[in-house]
């Protein structure tokens, strides 16, 4: 490599413009464009029309992006020199458009689509969205009352969510560490803001935003420092370069290992693995429920995608170094998540701990690091992809139901107040019970197939003790899922029972979709499992 300073000034070399494969990147670009357009709408569209325009823009943009994703997915070629991987590295090595990327794009886009429907719900708050009208106004102030009176709404939530979506799509597809870091921030920053925008219980909402922000910034500093150390070891940012350096094992071993550890902190914070989970319950509880749904489903996909790519592609050669650490974290995550959930009294917090436990189950699949053989056995990557699909839909469905169980002060998240819900509204309680059963991994629901997939991948990868722990943790987890069902159906309501508000078509559609997917993936998981399987491996 020629040192730049040595290039003589007399003969300036021509500057080649970078090649960008716009076609391959079209889903990302569409979403980014929609986000920017949303900002423009905020600036120029009349206030009365903004909500409609923003909703239509967001949903339309996602649908177009989904179509583009399908188109990109169908056009993926088999990568040279690899039996499983399909796709290629584009944008000068910054983004890898391969099977897992496209699968996860489709997945986060679908999650975003249903989440946007939740964002657009206005009937539950009497014609206003669940987001505060004036984020700048302190709760209870005259300014806030004025905002309510004039029916002011923060329609910025849509572009913010779109920006987060760009981050979620870029994070698992990033093929160099810098892009990954930027994607991480693009994904996180809008979410910090969205967390603080709840219309009701704003103190909790703001607190959750602050906690999420401070801890997120703290952990991304670790991530950034990890990148610096890995760069110091490898001398480059490309995952392929790092892979080569790791395989060759030039000196500076400790630099690499410290870098791996610190980067692990960053992604494990995002997936909510123990001991980096402390933010999860507080943020899930405090954030507006629609945001919690979006975040719980989308962030998990993005973060696990990035984790898989980072550790399988860049650090694949050092797997013997990081796998023991993953064992520890996976066990801690499953056990702490499942056990701590047992005594939760708030539905949203309970779901948060459940998401921690599920992060542990997915980590089991990751830790198995089973790259598969030529025959059709389930690989770590495909099992994790399937689990994320399953978990995401059930989670969004569960949070959607949380938004419609209400009393005079808004959502009723106290679990004890859910007693008797089965009598009040058998359909809603039945749907929630279905999601609980799916989380518990009961056969004939999607959760069972998901657990089976990750556990079998881990088993094939030789991590059978982990599978044993996972099964035990599942048993503990099942106990609190069943407790919710018992509360809803077999407990007498105390005082005035809960009431189920009638939502608009949007929320209803979300719940119906979640129920259908949960049942369908439990009964006929084949097609989606095959799709995850054909997503294959990462390109290098």
């Amino acid at each position: 490599m020629i040192h730049p300073l040595l290039v003589s000034a007399s003969a300036p070399p021509p500057i080649d413009s970078p090649t960008i494969q716009y076609g391959d990147l079209s889903p990302l670009l569409v979403v980014a464009a929609v986000a920017l357009l949303g900002v423009m709408v905020e600036a120029f569209a009349p206030r009365a029309l903004r909500f409609t325009i923003q909703t239509a823009l967001a949903i339309g943009g996602i649908v177009v992006a989904l179509a583009a994703t399908v188109w990109v997915g169908l056009g993926l070629d088999r990568a040279s020199g690899d039996v499983l991987a399909r796709g290629r590295v584009v944008a000068e090595g910054a983004v890898a458009v391969d099977g897992p990327s496209v699968f996860m794009w489709g997945l986060v886009l679908l999650f975003a689509l249903v989440s946007m429907l939740l964002f657009a719900e206005r009937r539950l708050e009497g014609g206003l969205s669940a987001f505060t009208g004036q984020a700048a106004a302190p709760p209870g102030s005259a300014m806030e009352r004025e905002a309510v009176e004039h029916r002011i709404e923060h329609t910025e939530v849509f572009p913010l969510a779109m920006f987060a979506l760009v981050g979620m799509m870029l994070f698992p597809a990033a093929n160099d560490l810098l892009t990954m870091f930027v994607a991480l921030e693009v994904l996180s920053l809008p979410l910090y803001l969205l967390c603080g925008l709840a219309r009701r219980r704003r103190l909790l909402s703001q607190e959750s935003a602050m906690k999420y922000f401070l801890l997120g910034a703290f952990s991304s500093a670790f991530f950034a420092y990890g990148i610096a150390l890995v760069y110091g070891f490898a001398g480059g940012f490309g995952l392929g370069d790092i892979d080569q350096a790791v395989s060759n094992r030039i000196d500076g071993q400790n630099l690499l290992l410290a870098g791996i550890a610190l980067m692990a902190v960053g992604v494990m914070f995002k997936v909510g693995a123990v001991p980096f989970h402390a933010w999860t319950p507080d943020v899930y509880q405090g954030a507006p429920t629609a945001v919690t749904a979006f975040m719980a489903a989308g962030t998990k996909v993005a973060a696990f995608g990035a984790m898989l790519r980072l550790f399988f592609v860049a650090f694949g050669g050092a797997s013997w170094d990081w796998r023991p650490m993953f064992w520890v974290v996976a066990i801690l995550t499953m056990v702490v998540g499942a056990v701590a959930a047992v005594t939760q009294s708030d539905v949203k917090r309970m779901l948060a701990y459940s998401s921690i436990a599920h992060a542990g189950f997915i980590l089991v699949g990751v830790t198995g690091a089973f790259v598969g053989t030529r025959d059709a056995s389930v690989t770590s990557v495909s099992s994790v992809l399937f689990y994320l699909t399953v978990y995401g839909f059930s989670t969004i469905g569960a949070f959607a139901i949380v938004t419609i169980v209400r009393d005079a002060s808004g959502e009723t998240t106290q679990l004890s107040r859910w007693a008797g819900l089965g009598r009040e509204s058998p359909l809603v309680a039945g749907a929630f019970a279905l999601f609980m059963l799916a989380f518990a991994g009961i056969p004939l629901t999607s959760g069972f197939i998901g657990k089976w997939a990750v556990f079998s991948a881990a088993w094939s990868g030789g991590a059978w003790p982990l599978v044993v722990v996972a099964v035990l943790a599942s048993v503990v987890a099942a106990s609190f899922y069943v407790r919710v069902i018992v509360t809803m159906f077999f407990t007498e309501p105390t005082g005035e029972g809960p009431s189920v508000a009638v939502p608009s078509m949007a929320t209803t559609a979300v719940i119906v979709v979640a129920v259908v997917v949960t049942v369908l993936l439990g009964v006929v998981p084949g097609p989606v499992l095959d799709l995850a399987q054909s997503a294959g491996a990462f390109v290098r």
């Binding site: 692990a264 902190v265 056990v339 701590a340 959930a341």
Partner: protein, 651 residues
């Protein structure tokens, strides 16, 4: 292969007979034979409620008609079969693939061959007669419609059992008759004793069913198929140990269904059911299913001397035990039940003798079906006239008041004791002859059994129909209506004439394609045996006459009796043995397990849940709400991760 009738002296095997031809022509009616009573049963059992008045009034006619229809089809098929060559008399009807999983396939197959044909005639023929009889016997029962529904269910299940072409289909029928038997024994479930007896029959039969089920599983494991044809073909390849295991397991199943020692205890209690049930199920048909199973599985027993010996021993022991019990009982139905056990013991014994005995086992089974059904129905007729009194010590002198019942019963009596010319004479003689040919001691025991049979049957005759009147005060014995006596007459005729099936060796010729046949070499001419056995029978009759005919019979059972009598009255302590060997240890074990469950398992579960709850509360407290403490966990976590990664490398 045709079975030449002039080759009886040679050993005949019948492998080719198990290459059945597909059902065509009238033989498509095989399944209809089962379907008709099944549908009728469903209509009768399910057609409940006020809108089904008609079913209550006319249901019994539908049930009887269904049974009759099956009988008519049975006769038509039988005649058609008679017209075929001996080699073509095996017809298979394949309805549909019942179970098809991986390499395991079970078709809903029915096999109609000479053996099944005889059974079909027996089941539907005797069954129809008993249906007719029941019209009168159950006339005053409010649940008569249901009773006929259960009887039809039994007919359908029993036909499935004998027509099955696959062990698993047979098992379906096997469990079906078990169910029907349970329902009918407990038909008067308001009586505690009936409910208990039904439960006992069910439980004891389960023990036998386990044997059959294991045998079927073993077939699948070893041969990959459970069809008769497949097993017959494959059985030659398996080890003799497997064949013996199969034989013994099937024998266990047969013991349960046929009330053979050691699973005999339920049959005597089963007499709690209505008498037509005792006649049809617990004398003529269902209890002979075990014999059918052994004969049908002849290809399995062919390869295993040990299992055959076990069959002989079981048969012999039961033969003696049943006769013994029959001598001691005062309850007319229980005396007959003991006799049933004993006679099935004869059949079992014959079946254990291999090809030399199969045909005679079936022959005796059929004649026994006639005369025992006849006598049970006769007993029912007596009970009908005596206000449901069953104690023979309260009978006496009924011959004059119930002439028809007495006359028909006498035909059955002469048949069972083997009076020359009556059916039992032929069938029992052949078995005893074959037993002598096999082993002298077995022969002697079987012959002595015949003498004992004569004793207890004569005792029963004398105490019931002859001797002095020992009725209770308000008893008004009377002859039963025609609808009940007509079947008695038909069965009495059959009891007399049934023996002619053996003339010219017809029965063995007929069954040779299925079971094979071999003659036995006897040291002395056959007539010597006949004379010897007849003499033994005469001695038995004489002893009974001396004991009961010449003296007055006390109207209450004497208390001071020999151990032999006491043991017989208590069913040879069968229940006591079960209780001591199985029930008490079982009770202890379950009690122990319950304690272990409560303290060990529940305790562990409670401790674990308690532990989890406590840990959970602790973890919950750790979530302090302070963002700085969260940062600390992240920081600490980062250190842990760092150390974990570096430590691995250093190690």
């Amino acid at each position: 292969m045709t079975a030449p009738t002039d080759l009886l002296l040679a050993t005949e095997q019948a492998p080719d007979a198990l290459a059945p031809v597909a059902a065509s022509g009238v033989f498509v009616l095989i399944a209809v034979m089962i379907l008709v009573p099944l549908v009728s049963s469903a209509l009768l059992v399910l057609g409940d409620g006020p809108r089904f008045d008609l079913a209550d009034k006319r249901g019994h006619l539908l049930g009887t008609a269904a049974s009759l229809a099956s009988f008519v089809i049975g006769v038509v098929l039988f005649v058609t079969l008679l017209g075929r060559d001996a080699g073509d008399r095996s017809i298979e009807q394949n309805l549909f693939a019942w179970i098809h999983v991986g390499g395991f396939q079970v078709d809903m197959t029915f096999l109609y061959d000479p053996l099944s044909a005889l059974f079909v005639l027996l089941i539907t023929g005797v069954g129809t007669l008993i249906h007719v009889y029941s019209i009168g016997y159950m006339e005053h029962d409010p649940r008569r419609r249901r009773f006929f529904g259960f009887l039809n269910l039994f007919i359908a299940a029993m036909l499935t059992l004998v027509l099955a072409g696959d062990y698993l289909v047979l098992f379906l029928g096997w469990e079906g008759v078990g169910l029907a038997s349970y329902l009918l024994i407990g038909f008067w479930q308001h009586k505690q004793s009936a409910a208990v007896a039904a439960k006992k029959a069910f439980v004891v039969n389960r023990v036998g069913d386990v044997g059959l089920a294991l045998a079927i599983m073993l077939m699948f494991a070893q041969l990959g198929t459970t069809s008769f044809v497949g097993v017959a073909e494959g059985i030659e390849q398996v080890s003799s140990g497997t064949a013996t295991a199969l034989g013994l397991l099937l024998l266990l199943g047969a013991c349960g269904k046929s009330a053979q020692v050691p699973l005999q205890s339920w049959l005597l209690d089963a007499m709690e059911g209505p008498t037509p049930v005792s006649a049809l199920i617990h004398a003529a048909t269902m209890v002979t299913a075990g014999v059918y199973l052994v004969v049908r599985s002849n290809f399995i027993y062919e390869g295993t001397e040990a299992a055959r010996t076990a069959v002989v021993v079981v048969g012999l022991v039961t033969l003696i035990a049943g006769a013994w019990i029959g001598c001691a009982k005062d309850d007319i139905k229980k005396a007959l039940a003991g006799s049933t056990m004993s006679q099935i013991g004869y059949m079992m014994l014959a079946a254990g003798l291999g090809p030399a005995g199969y045909a005679y086992a079936i022959f005796h089974l059929i004649t026994h079906g006639f005369f025992k059904a006849n006598m049970f129905l006769g007993a029912g007729s007596v009970m009908h006239g005596m206000d449901d009194e069953v104690d023979m010590r309260r009978y006496g002198g009924l011959a004059r008041l119930m002439p028809l019942t007495f006359g028909t019963f006498a035909m059955g009596y002469l048949a069972i004791i083997g009076f020359p010319g009556f059916s039992g004479f032929f069938s029992k003689d052949r078995i005893i002859e074959a037993a002598f040919a096999e082993n002298v001691f077995v022969g002697i025991a079987a012959a002595l059994g015949a003498g004992v049979t004569a004793f207890y049957m004569t005792r029963l005759m004398i105490m019931t129909f002859l001797s002095s009147r020992r009725w209770k005060e308000n008893a008004h014995p009377h002859e039963s209506p025609a609808v009940m006596t007509a079947p008695l007459v038909v069965l009495a005729v059959a009891s007399v004439l049934g023996g002619f099936l053996v003339l010219g060796g017809w029965i063995s010729d007929w069954l040779t394609p299925v079971t094979g046949y071999e003659t036995h070499e006897l040291a002395v001419p056959a007539w010597v045996f006949s004379v010897g056995i007849t003499v033994l029978v005469a001695i038995g009759v004489a002893v009974a006459w001396a004991t009961y005919g010449r003296r007055d019979v006390p109207s209450t059972a004497p208390e001071k009796v020999s151990f032999v009598t006491r043991a017989g009255r208590r069913d040879l302590y069968g229940d006591a043995v079960n209780e001591a060997v199985l029930m008490r240890p079982g009770d202890q074990a379950t009690r122990g397990l319950a304690v272990f469950d409560r303290i060990g398992v529940d305790g562990a579960v409670r401790a674990v849940t308690g532990g989890i709850g406590a840990t959970s509360s602790l973890l919950r407290r750790a979530q302090t709400g302070f963002v700085r403490s969260y940062s600390l966990t992240i920081f600490g976590g980062a250190l842990i991760v760092l150390v974990a990664v570096l430590a691995v490398n250093l190690a």
